[in-house]
């Protein structure tokens, strides 16, 4: 089961040389991560554009799904695999 964070909270992300997540910071914890998979979702450009670069990242404690909002550049935590 995964935990879906309905509010998709903003997180801080340190990037590696290729611009992909290397460390996540959120609510006091910090986790080094490795990218396992990534994809992009882009839709509704005619209405309210949605462009998200999703990264599935694995760290010592958890496996999570984060995305970078292509519109405002913010990073969000969407899912924790549990």
């Amino acid at each position: 089961m995964t935990r879906l964070l309905g509010q998709q909270p903003r997180i801080e992300v340190d990037l590696d040389a290729l611009g992909r997540p290397a460390r996540l910071r959120w609510e006091g914890w910090s986790e080094p991560v490795e990218v396992c998979n990534q994809w992009r979702i882009e839709e509704a450009w005619w209405r309210r554009p949605i462009r998200r670069d999703y990264f599935k990242v694995a760290g010592p404690r958890l496996l999570a799904l984060v995305y970078r909002d292509g519109v405002d550049g913010t990073w969000h935590l969407e899912r924790v695999f549990d």
Partner: protein
Amino acid sequence: MTTTPARLNANSTAPSGPVRAGHPEPSPEPLGSALARLEARWGSAAIRLGNGAQIDVPTAIIHARTTPDATATLGALALAPLSDLDPATDPVTVPRPSPSPGSAPDLAAEAVSTGFPTLDALLGTGGLPRRAGATLRGDASSGKTTLALRSVAGAQAAGGIVAWLDGGRTFDPLEAAARGVDLRWLVVLRPAEVGEGLRLAGALVSGRAVDLLVLDLPPRLALTNEALLRRLAAHARRIGVQLLVLEPLDLAAALHGALAEAAGVRLELERVGWLRLGRDVVGQRTAVTVSKNHFGPPGRQVELEIHYLDDGERGAGVARLLDAAMDGSSMADATRATATGPPKHRRPHPRHDLKPPTPLVTIDHAPPPPRLAQPLAPPRAGPTRPALDADSAARPGRSAVGSGQRPRPQPCRGTFRRPARAAAGGGAPTRP
């Protein structure tokens, strides 16, 4: 590349393969679109039958695990060779029998299945005991939520109604459904704050409206909830509502103590490795230790394998989940397992832009739905009689005038109403 159209079953609606007395036959699994995409992407590594024949997609219907060669590898993309699954314990071929709706729900049963047969066996009662609370304790990706959802599915299969206190607002209904949870018989509590939620849960328990209450506690739960937790646990025990608590690892000591006292069974979950498919993490191995057990010996341990439904896969529309208990319940087995352990922090691979995630092809494990009032007549084999088709003229044979007999009373309890007869009339010829 030539393909040989292959149907594993002579009759797609009549599954073949081992059938155990008293258990429903496994259902055929359509995989046409999944296989088409796999083949397009992976070519020779695509899923194929053990005898080397590839499948003519999208028309083939595959009956997983029932062909003699199915235990041979299914190609490079196989998650787990089917031979690793013990038919005696695999939850798909040995589903838990469900009570008929005519009888009372099977809540007098000792325990609720966790969905993992080896864990059920370890607990001594065949699952989480109904008359005692249970706690699942583990870190963020320990697998406790998956285990809880499987248990919910087990409780519902036995006829129960479940309430889930979503303390952290992280409940994912789609995942729950994929794990076998019937959303029709699930109430989700999402209070403004957890204390309020515990009071609401207490009121729900008082009404005896639910059979299982799951408390999904958020991390950093306030100490002020200790008394509420204790009271709720005692109340549930008194009323006879089963309690299942998901305890995060960083819970305050006092709260941890309250839960430890209240529970008859405590399971500690720890992820011991990832399951990888190439670079992708597609599941995990979790060690479950029975740290407390009023109904059996504590201290025993089993390793479970949990496979995820990949998020990106939903967009491509494929597959279901396989969860299987490892056969051979010892940690030593992990050393020869395919898991690679926690990923080390190493130089990342060259970037793959916009690569869709690898699809998963697995077998449904969900417990069967509760049995209907009357056993379903198996669908009649198509080839032996002309199928009724709304586009063709109605054949006079079966459409004979009804005999006017009254429907037979259904075995039932409570306020069951007999299914009434309904007549529909069309005022003008219209296409249905």
